[in-house]
Amino acid sequence: MRVVVGIDLGSTTTKAVLIDEDGQVVGRGITNSRSNYEVACGVAREEALIATRFTSLQRELEKLGKQESARKEMIHEAFRMELYLDELAKLTAQVGRVLKGLTYVGSRATLAPAADEVLATMAEEAPQLFQVGVARKSDFFRDLAGAAFVAASEGVSVRRNVPYERLVGLFDRAVLDVETQLTTHSFGDLLARAARRVLSEDSPETQAALLEAVERVAKQPIEELTFVGTGYGRQTLPFPKDAVRSEILCHGRGAHRVFGGTRTVLDIGGQDTKAIQVDEHGVVTSFQMNDRCAAGCGRYLGYIADELNLGLHELGPLALGAKRVVKVNSTCTVFAGAELRERLSLGERREDILAGLHRAIMLRAMSLLARSGGVENELTFTGGGCKNRVATKGLGELVVQNYGEGITPDAHPDSIYMGALGAALFGLDDIRAGKPQILPTFAKAAEAAPAAQ
């Protein structure tokens, strides 16, 4: 399979999209952005490669019949668990190094066995995280392992009389190193391990047929024709200048690809919001974005989640339970935090305040939309906020209020990938125009290591 890779290095998450030579999406990957941008890109790209192979596996399993096809999810979850366990082994080794580096021997003696117990508990409990049909709060190792480490530490610290903060501190220090090392996994090995785990109780014939399909998928070559990068961190991407495109152009192009009729795109990212107008070909004709201050962007909700000690993904569902929308005056992130505390102390419900905070963001976005030229027919909402149902619903209402009933608001569940999709489409243009192939260093390194496939 020959693919073009688009990477969107955002301030919060890094996304990769693989498209084939016909421009069809074959794989998507996402990871948390981290201090090492190259690693973030490498991980996102690997996630997209994995997704591509699972698409192929689905096809192979379909050939084997409906019953086998249903196993894809099981194998997929088992595969994710194998990945998790690999990362957990790296974390365990790194925690060991952190412990060795502690200057006070006494604390090492008490912390080390406690940490061992915590990490062993995490490995034991891993299968619970990766059951088919169980919704995980996140797929990022940092989030999953962080939550598990904290949960296990609560009991262990009490039982072993070890300071909880110090125990959890080990994770914080170790995970930084774990997530800034790029290790390319052997897809074939991981998938074989996962498949064996799932198929252990099957007949030898079924096992053989399925393992053969798994092997075919693992061996299938994926040739990366070129890379195009975009996003907040694009200047620091390990790509040459020719392979970097503006995120505004990429979001416009990606959104237009999915919603061909749209002429307006609103992207709410981690630290900026962009209102983009496109023509009938998806080419940007005008845009506006927030100036300097990141008020009213994704980080605003992130900050509010921190204030409430909640996960970002929990805000939307909570706000859905609002009985009224509290008027929040400030779109300044810091002031809104203060307003939130004040409202809570006055006895307002969290749900109602959260509904108000969501509305405050959308009102700010409406101002940018107006400045960019307004909405004519259809509005496509992209960026991380799309997964938040309160945000999409609130935006839809405001758009209709401001621009009339005839407006169609769109928000694709995969809208977070629109920038990376646009980048990949630009990459395909480049290849079709005969421009030379561009492979970033991490892709070259992965190519040099055959085990990676």
Partner: protein, 435 residues
């Protein structure tokens, strides 16, 4: 703008220097030298603003002009404005006050040391000859308190209908004759010699003709000039202390010669990195530049091959390319027309017409607005203009935001992001058009 040129010359040290630049540097040094000696030699000093400046009148009365806006932008270029603004804010000026004003007040509180390192003499007169900017009035109100010196004000009616009526002209002439000139004569201690004023206005006209030729040269491909970043150097002498002097005539003749030579050689403009190598985009720019990161800002354009073929900022001290010239035959009337014709004294429809004419005449690929926080005279209504211009010309507009001299309002990553997106948008649309 005089001092801008000086700084520009410094910025270009690595690159080859045009003779005109060397000449301008000499002129500026001479002027500041004169200012330093002013008090000892009994010369009177007049503070005034760039728009609507009455330099010929000041010169004819043997007084020396100081332009606080230029001192402020100079402080911005010399990275001193941040501290000056903080100083002004300490004394109670809000974050929303024009940063030129705060920078000037901060400089005053710090000993009023000018760009050449010497103290700028205190004013004997504050000459407010343009009221299109309300802030100017407040600025001099504050300076009046600080310096305890007289203010003379010329009220300039707004050109809301896009034309100067005979009544408007007469109203300004009457004020010049009955109020402004007598007040200036009193400070100068001498009577105005109308022949000397006319002689100076004739010199102004010569320099203005040459400057217009320089602007018009941008119709060539490649344009031999950058009409915004490079342009602010070109307006240095004419918008400040030198209009109506032999020095200015010499400078503009020299500059015009150099530009014509570049046209013949098919050369593009100078940039902070030396001569431009390619002209990928021809842009028209509306709004003042940012001064605190002037060269960084310029490089964002020049490194992408974007040349500014015309800008409105370089017309703030005179719209010569629409035909106005100082006229020795009717001195007071032409001074009145000059003050009434300031760019920021024009209504949005007139400004839009002007931008449209630039986009068409200079065959621009796009036009960009740099909207500054400090200046409502410039920034109010810019988005309306943008939409209207897109509609009329079909040329895509871009919008970036910064400030004059407050370094806190220059978000490099944000501006770069918008600018690159804008240029890539032009490229994509160009590709689409050719496809």
């Amino acid at each position: 703008m005089t001092t801008v040129t000086q700084s520009a010359a410094t910025a270009h040290e690595a690159a080859e220097k045009d003779t005109s630049q060397v000449e301008q540097k000499r002129m500026i040094a001479d002027h500041f030298e004169k200012l330093t000696r002013a008090k000892a030699e009994g010369k009177k000093v007049v503070y005034t603003f760039v728009p609507g400046n009455l330099t010929e009148l000041i010169g004819a009365l043997d007084m020396l002009p100081v332009l606080p806006e230029i001192n402020a932008l100079q402080s911005g270029m010399r990275k001193k404005s941040g501290a000056y603004i903080a100083e002004a804010e300490k004394s109670g000026h809000s974050e929303d006050v024009c940063t030129y004003v705060k920078c000037d007040l901060g400089m005053l509180k710090n000993g009023n040391i000018g760009p050449t390192g010497t103290k700028i003499p205190s004013p004997d007169l504050l000459l407010l000859s343009y009221t299109g900017c309300f802030t100017f009035m407040k600025w001099f109100e504050i300076l009046k308190e600080e310096y305890k010196c007289p203010v003379v004000m010329l009220h300039v009616p707004y050109q809301s209908d896009g034309e100067i009526t005979p009544e408007m002209r007469q109203y300004v002439v009457d004020q010049l004759r009955d109020v402004v000139i007598p007040a200036m004569e009193e400070v100068a201690g001498k009577k105005l010699d109308m022949k000397e004023l006319a002689r100076r206005l004739a010199l102004s006209k010569q320099a203005e003709d040459d400057l217009v030729a320089v602007w018009e040269s941008a119709q060539n491909r490649p344009s031999p000039i950058d009409g915004y970043f490079g342009g602010v150097y070109y307006i240095g002498p004419i918008f400040s202390a030198f209009r109506g002097t032999e020095d200015a005539v010499t400078y503009y003749r020299m500059l015009r010669g150099e530009v014509e030579a570049r046209v013949k050689a098919g050369e593009g403009p100078m940039t902070p990195d030396g001569p431009a190598h390619e002209e990928r985009y021809r842009l028209v720019v509306e709004g003042p530049p940012n001064w605190t990161h002037f060269n960084d800002f310029w490089r964002m354009f020049s490194r992408e091959g974007a040349t500014i073929v015309a800008s409105t900022y370089t017309r703030v001290g005179g719209l010569y390319d629409t035909g106005f010239r100082h006229n020795p035959e009717s001195p007071l009337e032409s001074l009145a027309d000059y003050c009434l014709g300031c760019y920021t004294n024009l209504g949005l429809p007139t400004r839009t017409d002007l931008l449209e004419s630039y986009i068409k005449r200079y065959k621009a690929d796009g036009f960009l607005i740099n909207s500054v926080k400090s200046c409502n005279s410039f920034s109010a209504g810019q988005l309306v203009m943008l939409r209207e211009l897109e509609k009329r010309t079909g040329v895509p507009g871009g919008f970036i935001e910064s400030d004059l001299v407050d370094p806190r309002y220059f978000g490099k990553a944000n501006i770069e992001n918008r600018l690159q997106s804008y240029l890539q948008m032009l490229e994509a649309r160009r590709g689409r058009a050719s496809a």
